[in-house]
Protein backbone atom coordinates (compact mmCIF):
# COMPACT_ATOMS: atom_id res chain seq x y z
CA UNK A 1 0.00 0.00 0.00
CA UNK A 2 1.37 3.38 -0.92
CA UNK A 3 1.06 6.48 1.23
CA UNK A 4 -0.02 8.46 -1.83
CA UNK A 5 -3.39 6.66 -1.97
CA UNK A 6 -4.42 7.78 1.52
CA UNK A 7 -6.62 10.84 1.47
CA UNK A 8 -6.90 12.98 4.57
CA UNK A 9 -10.07 12.86 6.61
CA UNK A 10 -11.87 16.15 6.04
CA UNK A 11 -12.85 17.70 9.38
CA UNK A 12 -16.61 17.50 9.76
CA UNK A 13 -18.96 18.50 12.57
CA UNK A 14 -21.66 15.82 12.85
CA UNK A 15 -24.52 18.31 12.67
CA UNK A 16 -23.22 19.48 9.26
CA UNK A 17 -23.32 15.98 7.81
CA UNK A 18 -26.68 15.74 6.04
CA UNK A 19 -27.61 14.83 2.44
CA UNK A 20 -27.26 18.48 1.33
CA UNK A 21 -23.71 18.77 2.72
CA UNK A 22 -20.78 18.83 0.23
CA UNK A 23 -19.13 16.19 2.42
CA UNK A 24 -22.08 13.79 2.08
CA UNK A 25 -20.59 11.79 -0.81
CA UNK A 26 -20.01 8.10 -1.41
CA UNK A 27 -16.43 7.28 -0.39
CA UNK A 28 -15.67 10.72 1.08
CA UNK A 29 -12.79 10.59 3.59
CA UNK A 30 -13.95 12.26 6.79
CA UNK A 31 -12.90 12.79 10.39
CA UNK A 32 -15.81 12.82 12.82
CA UNK A 33 -16.02 13.23 16.58
CA UNK A 34 -18.82 12.37 19.02
CA UNK A 35 -19.93 10.61 22.18
CA UNK A 36 -20.44 6.85 21.90
CA UNK A 37 -24.16 6.18 22.27
CA UNK A 38 -24.43 2.53 21.17
CA UNK A 39 -22.10 -0.28 20.25
CA UNK A 40 -22.96 -3.75 18.97
CA UNK A 41 -20.11 -6.22 19.34
CA UNK A 42 -21.46 -8.73 16.76
CA UNK A 43 -21.72 -6.20 13.93
CA UNK A 44 -18.94 -3.90 15.21
CA UNK A 45 -21.29 -1.00 14.49
CA UNK A 46 -21.07 1.98 16.83
CA UNK A 47 -23.27 5.06 16.93
CA UNK A 48 -21.81 8.41 17.96
CA UNK A 49 -23.75 11.55 18.81
CA UNK A 50 -22.87 15.24 18.80
CA UNK A 51 -25.65 17.72 19.57
CA UNK A 52 -28.75 16.50 17.75
CA UNK A 53 -26.86 14.50 15.10
CA UNK A 54 -25.84 10.85 15.13
CA UNK A 55 -23.68 8.75 12.80
CA UNK A 56 -23.13 5.01 12.42
CA UNK A 57 -19.49 3.92 12.54
CA UNK A 58 -18.31 0.58 11.19
CA UNK A 59 -15.37 -0.34 13.45
CA UNK A 60 -14.54 -3.73 11.89
CA UNK A 61 -11.11 -2.60 10.69
CA UNK A 62 -10.02 -1.27 14.06
CA UNK A 63 -8.79 -2.58 17.37
CA UNK A 64 -10.21 -0.17 19.89
CA UNK A 65 -11.87 -0.77 23.25
CA UNK A 66 -15.10 1.21 23.05
CA UNK A 67 -16.90 2.47 26.14
CA UNK A 68 -20.43 3.92 26.06
CA UNK A 69 -20.42 7.60 27.08
CA UNK A 70 -16.80 8.24 26.08
CA UNK A 71 -15.88 10.61 23.25
CA UNK A 72 -14.22 9.13 20.16
CA UNK A 73 -12.78 10.44 16.94
CA UNK A 74 -12.80 8.34 13.77
CA UNK A 75 -11.21 8.76 10.35
CA UNK A 76 -12.59 6.75 7.47
CA UNK A 77 -14.69 6.64 4.34
CA UNK A 78 -18.41 7.33 4.08
CA UNK A 79 -20.68 4.58 2.77
CA UNK A 80 -24.15 5.80 1.75
CA UNK A 81 -27.00 3.30 1.40
CA UNK A 82 -29.70 3.81 -1.25
CA UNK A 83 -31.95 4.88 1.64
CA UNK A 84 -29.47 7.76 2.25
CA UNK A 85 -28.42 6.22 5.55
CA UNK A 86 -24.71 6.88 6.01
CA UNK A 87 -22.06 4.81 7.78
CA UNK A 88 -18.44 5.77 8.24
CA UNK A 89 -16.16 2.80 7.58
CA UNK A 90 -13.47 3.76 10.08
CA UNK A 91 -9.80 2.91 9.49
CA UNK A 92 -8.46 4.85 12.48
CA UNK A 93 -10.06 5.75 15.80
CA UNK A 94 -9.05 7.14 19.16
CA UNK A 95 -10.54 8.02 22.50
CA UNK A 96 -10.64 11.80 23.01
CA UNK A 97 -12.21 12.04 26.48
CA UNK A 98 -11.35 15.47 27.86
CA UNK A 99 -11.54 17.20 24.47
CA UNK A 100 -13.13 20.66 24.63
CA UNK A 101 -15.77 20.10 21.92
CA UNK A 102 -16.82 23.74 21.86
CA UNK A 103 -13.22 24.84 21.19
CA UNK A 104 -12.87 22.01 18.65
CA UNK A 105 -15.95 23.15 16.68
CA UNK A 106 -14.90 26.81 16.72
CA UNK A 107 -11.36 25.89 15.66
CA UNK A 108 -12.62 23.89 12.68
CA UNK A 109 -14.50 26.98 11.46
CA UNK A 110 -11.40 29.16 11.96
CA UNK A 111 -9.25 26.60 10.14
CA UNK A 112 -11.61 26.54 7.15
CA UNK A 113 -11.57 30.35 6.98
CA UNK A 114 -7.77 30.36 7.13
CA UNK A 115 -7.48 27.71 4.40
CA UNK A 116 -9.85 29.67 2.16
CA UNK A 117 -7.81 32.87 2.71
CA UNK A 118 -4.51 31.12 2.00
CA UNK A 119 -5.88 29.43 -1.11
CA UNK A 120 -7.24 32.70 -2.50
CA UNK A 121 -3.94 34.49 -1.75
CA UNK A 122 -2.01 31.82 -3.63
CA UNK A 123 -0.16 30.11 -0.75
CA UNK A 124 -2.01 26.85 -1.33
Amino acid sequence: MSTSVIGHGELVILEELNPSSPHFKQGASLRVTGKLQEYTVESAIAVIVDGSATLRIDTQLMRLNLRIGSIYQFIGELVIEPSSEATLKARVGRNVDGMDLNLYHQSILLLRKFQAEQTSSGVA
Binding site: L103, L111, V123
Partner: protein, 181 residues
Protein backbone atom coordinates in the same frame (compact mmCIF):
# COMPACT_ATOMS: atom_id res chain seq x y z
CA UNK B 1 19.48 49.05 -4.19
CA UNK B 2 22.01 46.34 -3.21
CA UNK B 3 21.37 47.16 0.42
CA UNK B 4 17.62 46.74 -0.16
CA UNK B 5 18.25 43.46 -1.98
CA UNK B 6 20.34 42.23 0.98
CA UNK B 7 17.61 43.19 3.50
CA UNK B 8 14.96 41.42 1.42
CA UNK B 9 17.13 38.28 1.07
CA UNK B 10 17.85 38.13 4.80
CA UNK B 11 14.13 38.48 5.54
CA UNK B 12 13.41 35.68 3.07
CA UNK B 13 15.96 33.51 4.93
CA UNK B 14 14.99 34.42 8.48
CA UNK B 15 13.04 31.17 8.95
CA UNK B 16 15.60 29.00 7.14
CA UNK B 17 16.92 27.10 10.17
CA UNK B 18 13.67 27.18 12.15
CA UNK B 19 11.33 24.23 12.56
CA UNK B 20 8.37 26.06 11.06
CA UNK B 21 4.97 24.89 12.31
CA UNK B 22 2.86 24.17 9.24
CA UNK B 23 -0.54 22.70 8.54
CA UNK B 24 -0.43 19.83 6.05
CA UNK B 25 -2.12 21.74 3.20
CA UNK B 26 0.48 24.49 3.59
CA UNK B 27 3.39 22.01 3.84
CA UNK B 28 2.26 20.08 0.76
CA UNK B 29 2.28 23.30 -1.26
CA UNK B 30 5.92 24.19 -0.57
CA UNK B 31 7.93 24.62 -3.75
CA UNK B 32 11.38 23.05 -4.26
CA UNK B 33 14.17 25.59 -4.62
CA UNK B 34 16.21 24.38 -7.60
CA UNK B 35 19.16 26.66 -6.81
CA UNK B 36 19.39 25.26 -3.27
CA UNK B 37 18.27 21.60 -3.26
CA UNK B 38 18.02 21.42 0.54
CA UNK B 39 15.57 24.31 0.76
CA UNK B 40 11.93 24.81 -0.10
CA UNK B 41 9.95 27.94 -0.64
CA UNK B 42 6.71 29.20 0.88
CA UNK B 43 5.75 32.25 -1.17
CA UNK B 44 9.40 33.17 -1.59
CA UNK B 45 10.44 32.46 2.01
CA UNK B 46 13.13 29.80 2.20
CA UNK B 47 12.48 26.93 4.62
CA UNK B 48 14.44 23.78 5.41
CA UNK B 49 12.74 22.37 8.52
CA UNK B 50 9.18 21.83 9.64
CA UNK B 51 7.10 20.80 12.62
CA UNK B 52 3.78 19.06 12.05
CA UNK B 53 1.23 17.25 14.17
CA UNK B 54 -1.47 14.78 13.24
CA UNK B 55 -3.07 11.39 13.63
CA UNK B 56 -0.91 8.50 12.42
CA UNK B 57 -2.99 6.94 9.63
CA UNK B 58 -0.43 4.72 7.90
CA UNK B 59 2.88 3.08 8.78
CA UNK B 60 5.36 0.76 7.08
CA UNK B 61 8.32 -0.62 9.01
CA UNK B 62 11.50 -2.03 7.46
CA UNK B 63 13.41 -3.17 10.56
CA UNK B 64 16.88 -1.62 10.88
CA UNK B 65 16.23 0.44 7.74
CA UNK B 66 13.34 2.90 8.13
CA UNK B 67 9.86 3.58 9.36
CA UNK B 68 7.60 5.39 6.90
CA UNK B 69 4.38 6.81 8.23
CA UNK B 70 1.75 9.43 7.41
CA UNK B 71 0.15 11.95 9.73
CA UNK B 72 -3.29 13.43 8.98
CA UNK B 73 -4.04 16.83 10.54
CA UNK B 74 -7.44 17.27 8.90
CA UNK B 75 -6.06 19.52 6.15
CA UNK B 76 -3.83 16.92 4.47
CA UNK B 77 -1.56 13.92 5.00
CA UNK B 78 2.16 14.45 5.47
CA UNK B 79 4.49 11.55 4.60
CA UNK B 80 7.23 11.09 7.20
CA UNK B 81 10.45 9.09 7.11
CA UNK B 82 12.36 7.96 10.18
CA UNK B 83 15.73 6.38 9.40
CA UNK B 84 16.64 3.36 11.55
CA UNK B 85 20.04 2.55 10.02
CA UNK B 86 22.21 4.73 12.22
CA UNK B 87 24.55 1.90 13.25
CA UNK B 88 25.30 0.96 9.60
CA UNK B 89 25.09 4.31 7.87
CA UNK B 90 28.22 6.06 6.56
CA UNK B 91 26.40 9.32 7.27
CA UNK B 92 27.04 8.80 10.99
CA UNK B 93 30.54 7.30 10.70
CA UNK B 94 32.20 10.58 11.76
CA UNK B 95 30.05 10.92 14.88
CA UNK B 96 31.15 9.54 18.23
CA UNK B 97 29.97 5.88 18.50
CA UNK B 98 28.26 6.48 21.86
CA UNK B 99 26.27 9.40 20.34
CA UNK B 100 25.24 7.22 17.40
CA UNK B 101 24.13 4.42 19.74
CA UNK B 102 22.09 6.95 21.72
CA UNK B 103 20.40 8.27 18.56
CA UNK B 104 19.72 4.70 17.40
CA UNK B 105 18.13 3.85 20.76
CA UNK B 106 16.01 7.01 20.65
CA UNK B 107 14.69 6.28 17.15
CA UNK B 108 13.93 2.69 18.20
CA UNK B 109 11.72 4.12 20.95
CA UNK B 110 10.03 6.47 18.46
CA UNK B 111 9.30 3.46 16.24
CA UNK B 112 7.44 1.61 18.96
CA UNK B 113 5.52 4.76 19.96
CA UNK B 114 4.33 5.65 16.46
CA UNK B 115 1.17 3.56 16.15
CA UNK B 116 -2.01 3.91 14.06
CA UNK B 117 -4.51 6.24 15.71
CA UNK B 118 -1.91 7.97 17.89
CA UNK B 119 -1.21 11.69 17.57
CA UNK B 120 2.41 12.41 16.69
CA UNK B 121 4.22 15.72 16.71
CA UNK B 122 7.19 15.46 14.38
CA UNK B 123 10.13 17.72 13.64
CA UNK B 124 12.66 17.31 10.91
CA UNK B 125 14.07 18.30 7.56
CA UNK B 126 11.81 18.98 4.63
CA UNK B 127 12.88 16.63 1.85
CA UNK B 128 11.62 15.52 -1.52
CA UNK B 129 11.30 11.93 -2.66
CA UNK B 130 10.10 10.99 -6.14
CA UNK B 131 8.56 14.40 -6.60
CA UNK B 132 6.64 14.36 -3.32
CA UNK B 133 7.36 16.30 -0.15
CA UNK B 134 8.05 14.56 3.14
CA UNK B 135 9.58 15.19 6.55
CA UNK B 136 12.77 13.30 7.34
CA UNK B 137 12.09 13.02 11.04
CA UNK B 138 14.63 13.81 13.76
CA UNK B 139 12.28 14.13 16.72
CA UNK B 140 8.89 12.68 17.70
CA UNK B 141 6.56 13.43 20.60
CA UNK B 142 3.39 11.40 21.07
CA UNK B 143 0.68 13.77 22.26
CA UNK B 144 -1.79 12.32 24.76
CA UNK B 145 -3.79 15.48 25.53
CA UNK B 146 -6.85 15.36 23.20
CA UNK B 147 -6.81 19.17 22.86
CA UNK B 148 -3.22 19.34 21.63
CA UNK B 149 -4.13 19.04 17.96
CA UNK B 150 -6.47 22.04 18.22
CA UNK B 151 -3.70 24.06 19.90
CA UNK B 152 -1.39 23.11 17.02
CA UNK B 153 -3.94 24.31 14.44
CA UNK B 154 -4.30 27.63 16.27
CA UNK B 155 -0.50 28.00 16.55
CA UNK B 156 -0.14 27.40 12.80
CA UNK B 157 -2.83 29.95 11.92
CA UNK B 158 -1.43 32.57 14.30
CA UNK B 159 2.18 32.07 13.14
CA UNK B 160 1.22 32.19 9.46
CA UNK B 161 -0.71 35.44 9.93
CA UNK B 162 1.70 37.21 12.29
CA UNK B 163 5.04 35.82 11.20
CA UNK B 164 5.33 33.77 8.00
CA UNK B 165 3.03 35.89 5.82
CA UNK B 166 4.65 39.15 6.94
CA UNK B 167 7.96 38.01 5.44
CA UNK B 168 6.51 37.96 1.93
CA UNK B 169 4.76 41.29 2.50
CA UNK B 170 8.01 43.28 2.76
CA UNK B 171 7.56 46.56 0.91
CA UNK B 172 10.25 48.69 -0.72
CA UNK B 173 10.09 51.18 2.18
CA UNK B 174 10.94 48.23 4.49
CA UNK B 175 7.55 48.33 6.26
CA UNK B 176 5.58 45.13 6.68
CA UNK B 177 1.92 44.30 6.50
CA UNK B 178 0.54 42.87 9.72
CA UNK B 179 -2.68 40.90 9.78
CA UNK B 180 -4.50 40.69 13.12
CA UNK B 181 -5.38 37.24 14.47
Amino acid sequence: MDHMHHITNSRMDKLYNTHVKLLAFDFLNLKPNHAHPSSFSRQGTRLSRAEALGVVVWRELKPNKFLKFSIDDGTGCIPCLLWLNHLDSHYFSRRHPSDVRLIAELTKNFTSEIQLGGVARVRGKITGYRGALQITVSDVVIERDPNMEVFHWLDCVRLARLCYDTVKDVKPDNSTTHVPF
